[in-house]
């Protein structure tokens, strides 16, 4: 069976416009959460957001993608996609090959233009410029058209675990022999729809999120896009891969539409499945990038899951959502990128905004300052979403 290597990645978030910019920001422990400048909402000044510091017009300049009605989601997806394929040095025939899959994800899609959608859906006035672009899969179609992609395409929407599931599916496609490579990830923008949605559930924090902290009061929304280029060991040739994807697992908590069960059976099952696929014992994990949204429910249940899976030896862990905010569908891929940076640089980016642990044991393992480590062989990344959907990925270094 083929092995699955990451040969390229591209990303844009509140931390920077490229992977390199984001690495600098991660190292300097500077959060991307702040005051939104471009996002228009009643909450723009009263709630913190992790916004990409570019207007839509500036994103058009940056990507050179000037199509009328191109949504912000499409623009950031394009940017990240461009960087990923350049990083992987994919040749034109490889990119357009029938054996190159493209799997993306988005929860908001073109619905970031709430007011236009309201008008078009209620047939008020003339059609907006976004009339064709509301579907979550629209950005995929634009990328396919722009790059003449011919291979298997897919869009996944499992809320917060979407792009983690896209990565997992890409790996399975490669291992089945059906494709040689898969470009996988996702994109999501700040949108009135999700801001008001999470706010209506009372899980948005009035100040920046505090993952795993006893005084956490909810999540902070962010926006971003990230893509990984996965390639089979049979085709990546002379390239030096960034990391290897060795484990993955998906499970459903089957408890409640928007909360995790107290016994965290879904997260525990997902993590154990990933360890099983990787063929390693839990103590081999050097670092966990937690889902860690900063909600009362997620962090408590996720830490409980750590205790069940890892016993007394919970690995070093952090949630980087206090850097990036919760980027919804993009979170899995964005955090995969962060894990790979961790692996390559043998360092852990901290769990910012941490003051008081939600329980005493947290202190033993949580990383609160940027930390160099001697060993970074296996790294786990978790994403747990609405509908009980949970996915765990395990990356390993190549050396």
């Amino acid at each position: 069976m083929s092995r699955v290597f990451i040969t390229g990645m591209g990303s844009i978030s509140s931390l920077g416009l490229t992977v390199e910019e984001q690495l600098k920001r991660l190292r300097s422990e500077k959060t991307g959460i702040g005051v939104a400048k471009h996002f228009k909402s009643t909450y723009s000044t009263s709630l913190p957001f992790a916004e990409i510091d570019l207007s839509d017009e500036e994103l058009i300049q940056l990507t050179g993608f000037n199509k009328k009605g191109a949504t912000r989601t499409t623009l950031i997806a394009m940017k990240a996609f461009q960087e990923a394929i350049e990083c992987s040095q994919l040749k034109e025939d490889e990119l357009t090959s029938f054996r190159t899959a493209f799997i993306s994800s988005s929860t908001v899609g073109g619905m970031c233009y709430t007011d236009s959608l309201y008008a078009d859906a209620n047939r008020i006035g003339n059609k907006s410029e976004f009339f064709y672009a509301y579907e979550g899969s629209n950005h995929l179609i634009e990328i396919i058209k722009h790059y003449n992609l011919n291979g298997y395409s897919d869009v996944i929407n499992t809320a917060c675990s979407s792009s983690a599931n896209a990565i997992m599916l890409g790996a399975k496609l490669i291992q089945s022999g059906r494709v040689d490579r898969a470009i996988v990830g996702g994109a999501d923008c700040l949108a009135k729809f999700t801001v008001n949605g999470f706010n209506s559930l009372r899980i948005l924090n009035a100040s920046p999120c505090k993952p795993f902290d006893a005084n956490r009061e909810g999540l902070t929304l962010g926006e971003g896009a990230a893509y990984l280029v996965l390639e089979s060991d049979k085709v990546y040739g002379q390239k030096i891969p960034l990391a290897e994807l060795v484990g993955y697992g998906n499970a459903n908590d089957a408890f409640h539409p928007s909360a995790t069960s107290d016994d965290a059976r879904g997260p525990i099952k997902a993590m154990n499945l990933a360890l099983g696929v990787a063929g390693i014992d839990p103590e081999k994990i050097d670092y966990v990038n937690a889902h860690g949204t900063g909600t009362e429910n997620n962090d408590a249940t996720e830490f409980f899951a750590f205790q069940q899976v890892f016993g007394n030896q919970i690995p070093l862990f952090s949630s980087t959502k206090a850097y990036t905010g919760h980027t919804l569908a993009a979170a899995g891929a964005l955090e995969a990128m962060i894990c790979i940076l961790s692996i390559r640089n043998k360092e852990i980016y901290p769990n910012l905004n941490f003051d008081t642990p939600l329980s005493p044991d947290v202190v033993d393992s949580i990383v609160t300052k940027r930390t160099d480590v001697d060993q970074m062989k296996y790294v786990m990344s978790n994403s747990f979403g609405f509908g009980g959907n949970g996915t765990s990925l395990i990356f390993s270094s190549c050396i």
Partner: protein, 345 residues
Amino acid sequence: MYLIDVIAISPQRTFTDEFISGDFQIHTEGKMLAIEPSYMDLIPASLLRRMGKAVRMGIGAGLPLIKNYSSIEGVIIGTANGGLEDCIKFLNQIVEYEEGVLTPTNFVSSTPNAVAGQLAMMGQKTGYNSTHTNGSLSFDNVLLDASLYLNEQQQDATLLIGALEEISAYNYNIDQINELYKDELVSNDELLNTKTKGSICGEGATMFVVSNNPNGAKVRYIDQFQITYPSKTNFSQLVEEFLKVNNLHPSEIDLLLFGNSGDVRHDHWYEDLHQDLFADKPVYTYKQFCGDYRTSNGFACYLAMQLVREDFKIHGFEVTSKPKYVLIYNQFLSARHGLILFELL
């Protein structure tokens, strides 16, 4: 991968035996609304009260299968839009109340993976769970995802998979702006005779039990092929190559089930493929039954499962000896094209 069982809620009386016994519902209002069962016996009121139509149909079709097949481990659903009605209701609240104090129910049930999540919750299924939202390839994606999962398992494994789409006033409006539907009123029995632009909107939920163990199944999923924005010049050749990879020649395909939609702008894809590769065979269509919607090929797969009955001579089918290989072809607005290959056992 074997297709063991199916339940369909559609604009025909497919939830009961009437459609299979020959009943054909004619819709004259321009929208083909699904004929829904009474859900009060199927779904607890405490959950039903929160469900928009898409979720109701998905649960209504899926839950009985979950109850009857305890071996089901996980759920995979394909839907282009999910519960768009709930989504727009929430958006309307945002605008009406100027982002003030809003009720969360519409938001929670509008997420496209709400159905897969609810089915998992109601059936206590903690296994693999996913939702594909790739427009008109969503159900094709589901089939491949399911077959990958089932082929990986060391033991017998079973999944619930489905195709789902609802008509809501709101997504209908947006689709109208995008010129998907006919300007004139046409009934579904006349649809495929029209030579004008647009089709008629349909909706439905089609849920399947699939397994890696034959279990007396009558339908085996072999493979699929998909392409977005293909070139007209080599499309038929690509289809021929797809069949070849599966050790089949076009002449061996016994039954063609195509997604002709009555849209004069786009139906030529079906006509051309028919002429190029299958000129000596009749083409059967399915959108006269279910209307046109992104995941309508789920309904086509439901029909394929009915074709295993001998002498299937209802609804215009003239099948005397059981076909062996069935090819389903669906495309949407000339953009996304999907072919599904089944073997009837």
